[in-house]
Subunit: 321 residues, 2 copies
């Protein structure tokens, strides 16, 4: 009874935008502390109002500065903005990222702005799943905009960035950058490109090259959208309005063709699938079963038992036991 | 008893290199016909002698021609060569790929040469797993060299190519090609690069650019190997000896540092893991459970139930029923 009352109190505090309650909820979910799942389930019915923006691109493209400027842009328009800064290479959570990150944290002192860092190794259950859980908390807490900002372009970062309603890819004119973009699969996930530092030499050519590459882009079956390429100089605050307008244009397009809801439902569907697979995986790989696997390795090496034999034995023991 | 006798007869025929028996075994494994698993298990103890080479690279790089010439090279040295040509885009198996493929099929008329096409949609249980099963059959059948040749550079093709003892990446001097290579993750999996069509303009620069890129390559913890870059003109048979020598040099390196066995064990380990996950997945997603998932979708859309709720319910029903 006290527990339920406590949970309801926590939920109310989060819904009221209480910063401490939000921070505690995020930590609780990240570390899967007792009651984290009930908390999320209760908050879920209050989600769906925030617009989620993914910001990704190669290191050094100016994503953090861009995010800072977008925060300023949106707060000036009276909106509340939350940022989930994702760094899969860092072993720490909650403020582990230095440099730009520290500067951005200072934004979070402002009312209506909330910044949270997340790192892979500290988070249970997959960074992608957890980032979406955290976005749900912030969405329920009444933030109008939730930004996923990634440090680099690893697969898990891309997965998070593309779990947004609009995904922004930030590039710079340097020659190697479009190579990097293609290598990283950024082309496929972008709803909007920002050519940052576009006061540098080669910006015109880089924009032209990018547009050429985009003509070869294979569009998704349900999506005829061709990403805009917007120029910006984030450090000087140039082009930020254009970036925000580009995001808005994509949002309106999706609303117009009914794609926003389709995208969100597909996202929730795959969340269920991912969580299910993880639950299957974690309940399956008990210490006993891991030991059985290890015990079978010599037979595998000596080729007296085949991979299929070993896998079948492991899964059949499940049925038996 | 008759069944066992029949199985033993089939195994003996395969071990003797009987082409019809090999072909039937592959078809049986691809389509998971009755007894395919017993067959593979029995053959497994006879594997481990063939050297497995992966050949991959962007479309049009000349992989098929390169493979043909390597077949000729190895057969001239008295070796028996089998090729598994993988095309995940094709819905058909067994000779679905036209053009170069047809020409290569003619190689398979020669004694000591065996060519088999595999396609994704026709194969149960994942192309990667099946390609390795087929390689096991060919290995047991006494082929000295088993080549995995891919048509393109999709993820499943890369997974297959890197499941080899040595992975060869074929590129051409055209400017977009190194971009393509980086985009596709080819850099990470290559043990040897072949700059094919290197009589074309720009070959010197392309080789130099590739070598520069390679200096930035992050080596694996257990592997200090830096891939060679070999030049060839496959259509004219130029450089084929160098390609074979490059593969041999990599093989010797791995034997020298003990990496070949390490690699093979790691490969078999992940085969077990993959098969196990698939068995878990397929036994879990029964029609009843899929129906339960579909039934839960409206509640997910209306946000009255969270993804975690739905996933938990699905997996808990497993424990209960």
């Amino acid at each position: 009874m006290t527990e339920t009352k406590d949970l309801l109190g926590r939920i109310e505090a989060i819904l009221n935008g209480d910063r401490l309650a939000i921070t505690r909820a995020i930590t609780s979910v990240e570390n899967e502390r007792a009651g984290w799942d009930d908390l999320l389930s209760h908050l879920y019915s209050h989600t769906g109002r925030a617009y989620r923006i993914g910001i990704t691109g190669p290191p050094g493209a100016g994503k953090s500065t861009m995010t800072q400027k977008l925060i300023a842009h949106y707060t000036a328009a009276g909106l509340r903005v939350a940022v989930i800064a994702v760094d899969p290479t860092s072993p720490f959570t909650g403020g582990a990222i230095l440099g730009d990150r520290v500067r951005m944290q200072s934004e979070s002192m402002k009312a209506g702005v909330f910044v949270r860092s997340m790192a892979t190794r500290g988070s249970l259950g997959g960074l992608n799943t957890k980032a979406q859980d955290v976005a749900d908390i912030l969405d329920a807490a009444g933030f109008d905009i939730v930004i996923y900002e990634t440090v680099g372009v690893g697969q898990s970062e891309l997965d998070i960035a593309k779990a947004a309603d609009s995904t922004v890819v930030v590039l710079v004119p340097e020659s190697g950058d479009s190579i990097q973009a293609m290598k990283s699969g950024l082309m496929e996930i972008a709803d909007l490109f920002v050519m940052n530092k576009s006061d540098r030499e080669g910006a015109d050519q880089a924009v032209a090259a990018l547009k050429t590459i985009l003509t070869f882009r294979i569009t998704h079956a349900d999506d005829e959208w061709v990403p805009d390429v917007v120029r910006a100089v984030a450090t000087e605050g140039k082009g930020i309005d254009d970036v925000a307008a580009g995001i808005e244009r994509h949002r309106e397009y999706m609303l117009h063709v009914g794609l926003l809801e389709t995208r969100r439902i597909a996202r929730e569907r795959s969340r269920v699938e991912r969580i299910t697979e993880r639950l299957l995986h974690t309940t399956f790989w008990t210490p006993e079963r891991l030991a059985a696997f290890e015990a079978a390795l010599p037979a595998l090496s000596s080729r007296t038992r085949s991979p299929l034999d070993v896998a079948r034995q492991l899964t059949q023991e499940r049925v038996g036991g």
